[in-house]
Amino acid sequence: MFRFLLRRIAGAALILLIISAVTFFLFYAVPRDPARAFCGKICPPANLALIRHNLGMDDPLFVQYWHWLVGIFAGRDLVQFGACPAPCLGYSFATQETVFSAILDRLPVTVSVTLGAAVVILTFGIGTGMLAAWQQGRPVDKVASASSVIGASLQIYFVGPILVFFIVDSMGLLPRPAYRAFTENPLDWFVHLLIPWVVLAMIFTANYTRMTRSTMVEQLAEDYVRTARAKGMSGPTVFLRFAWRGAMIPIVTIFGVDLATLLGGAIITEQTFTLHGIGELAVRAVQNTDLPMLLGVTLIGAFAIVMLNIVVDVLYAVIDPRVRLA
């Protein structure tokens, strides 16, 4: 287990290193003049020269990358903006704050939306999937699979506004989606994020329903289930105590992928509901051609995805004791 973790983390570090290098060189090498790109649409020559100097662009690209990389672990001194403490991803050119603190500020929003949605999705997805497997071929099953096809085809930016229009604007049942700090008022936090969660759930639940149903059906045909039945164990007990364990393996796999998609998809979710999270930060950074911010957000996003993959692999072993991590 320990060796497995060590190896996976080393692999993850390597992938992150490659991603950071690829993004860095794409951003800095491809545009004809990086300083010009940093400067934005309207750029006085004085600014341009200053930026060029402060970016250390007199150095070769490799040296620049090395400085940037070292800065993440050791911090660095950026002449124009002052010191940048340890996890230094540079300073945003648009807002003059450190990229890391900007991301940290917005992290709670994105995490609240993603994790909240994940809870709803898992509960409903696995719940309806189990129900459909239990009621195989009956109306419940058919409704579940039909709605899963439609759900998977919905777009956040279509269903989101529609729900907000009817629930908030017309009926006034819920407040307009926004982020309220969980630590201050959990109820407020909950009510304001309910619509985004429901919309995400409508779209992503389908996958879990389908997956849970099919693996449950498979598991119920397994020998150990028959043995349990033959011993005289009641149907529900077999179902709830044994069969679900095997069904969880593929669920965990797609959940790892989906959580990453949700995090990445935070861009569209946050834009739809005007929540000020990391996704919105990325969109603003693109609009301002704020390259340090873009680099930082991409790296953090990739970091989250790679870490999630490791967690998923460990979870395999926790759920199914037959899986050996080595």
Partner: protein, 341 residues
């Protein structure tokens, strides 16, 4: 050499295979049928599949015939009717007539603000989005097939390198990477002072979607090739001295059509969604080119006052994606009746 997918047209094999789907073929003479014919028969019997194929075909027809529709309808997607004709938009720029200004004149109403015709915007928007999605689907399929077969067949170092490239690509937060890469790709061609020309934005969207898109297809095909490579018919071909090119094109490829077609059918609606997502985020096709996705951006700005505008692009996209997904499922059933969902 007989390939598994090209069963000899002997009498007897065909009805046996068709019988596997459940519906026995009742005919006096047992005629031989090619796998394609069998597939077509299975598909034709699948009512959902046929219906969704018709819906999908309808969307493609709309996209292809957009200029014809425009001529028949008598309007174009660029004229700002609401601004030139008084009495259509109110002082805030919203349609005066109920339901977003829907009328016999403007079937789907008027766009708030600019006052363009929504029906024409949608028709031409579908044309733009579908053309991008098709281009990307074709290119990613070709790259994915080449890379997948190459890494699966060559194995060793090639396989390792391609595999790690795919690992990295799949670890990128794709949506983020899409919007991040667009300005970078464009900056490679135009300096920031110049206005981005229409075709360049079109090309960069295709490039970015392609870069991120081919990995899945490649990974699936690699796995298929890995298992096929060890089969007897490949070994037989190799023993008889067939060249690698022959083995790849004549022996491997015919066995890969099923996953290729299924995977690309499933990918196309994803590209439509991704392109629309870019439009929605304001980094897709720029004005005045009509774009399906950008209609959602306009819609999300005005929906508190005018929800009707959002309904048309939204509902049409849901119908399109549902139909396409159902079509993909039906194709899978028709190609491979053994794998029941």
């Amino acid at each position: 050499m007989t390939l598994p997918s090209q069963a000899m047209p002997e009498a007897g094999t065909a009805p046996a295979a068709a019988g596997g789907t459940g519906g026995g073929v009742s005919g006096p003479a047992m005629a031989g049928r090619s796998p394609a014919q069998l597939m077509w028969r299975r598909f034709r019997r699948d009512r959902t599949g046929v219906a969704s194929a018709i819906v999908v075909a309808f969307f493609f027809l709309v996209a292809i015939l957009a200029p014809v529709i425009s001529a028949l309808y008598g309007k174009d997607p660029y004229t700002t009717y609401g601004q030139s004709v008084p009495g259509l938009l109110n002082e805030y720029g919203y349609p005066i007539a109920p339901n977003g200004g829907m009328s016999g004149e403007f079937w789907f109403g008027l766009e708030p603000g600019l006052g363009r015709d929504v029906f024409m915007q949608l028709v031409y928007g579908i044309r733009t989005s579908l053309s991008i999605a098709v281009v990307v689907a074709v290119i990613t399929t070709i790259i994915g097939v080449v890379m997948g077969i190459w890494s699966g067949y060559a194995g060793g170092k090639t396989d390792y390198v391609i595999g790690r490239v795919i690992d990295v690509l799949l670890a990128f937060p794709s949506q983020l990477f899409l919007i991040v890469m667009l300005p970078v790709v464009e900056a490679a061609f135009v300096s920031p002072e110049e206005e981005t020309p229409f075709w360049l934005r079109y090309v960069s969207i295709c490039v970015v979607l392609t870069v991120l898109g081919w990995a899945t297809m490649s990974r699936i095909l690699r796995a298929q090739v890995l298992s096929l490579r060890e089969r007897e018919f490949i070994e037989a071909a190799r023993v008889t001295g067939a060249s690698p090119a022959r083995i790849i094109f004549k022996e491997l490829l015919p066995n890969l059509w099923t996953p290729i077609i299924i995977q690309s059918t499933l990918a196309l609606p994803l590209y439509v969604g991704a392109e629309a997502g870019l439009g929605f985020l304001g980094v897709g096709m720029t004005e005045p080119t009509p774009d399906w996705g950008r209609m959602f951006l306009v819609g999300s700005n005005v929906y508190h006052q005018d929800i009707t505008y959002l309904v048309f692009p939204g509902v049409s996209m849901v119908i399109f994606v549902v139909a396409f997904n159902l079509l993909g499922d039906s194709l899978r059933d028709a190609f491979d009746p053994k794998t029941r969902r």
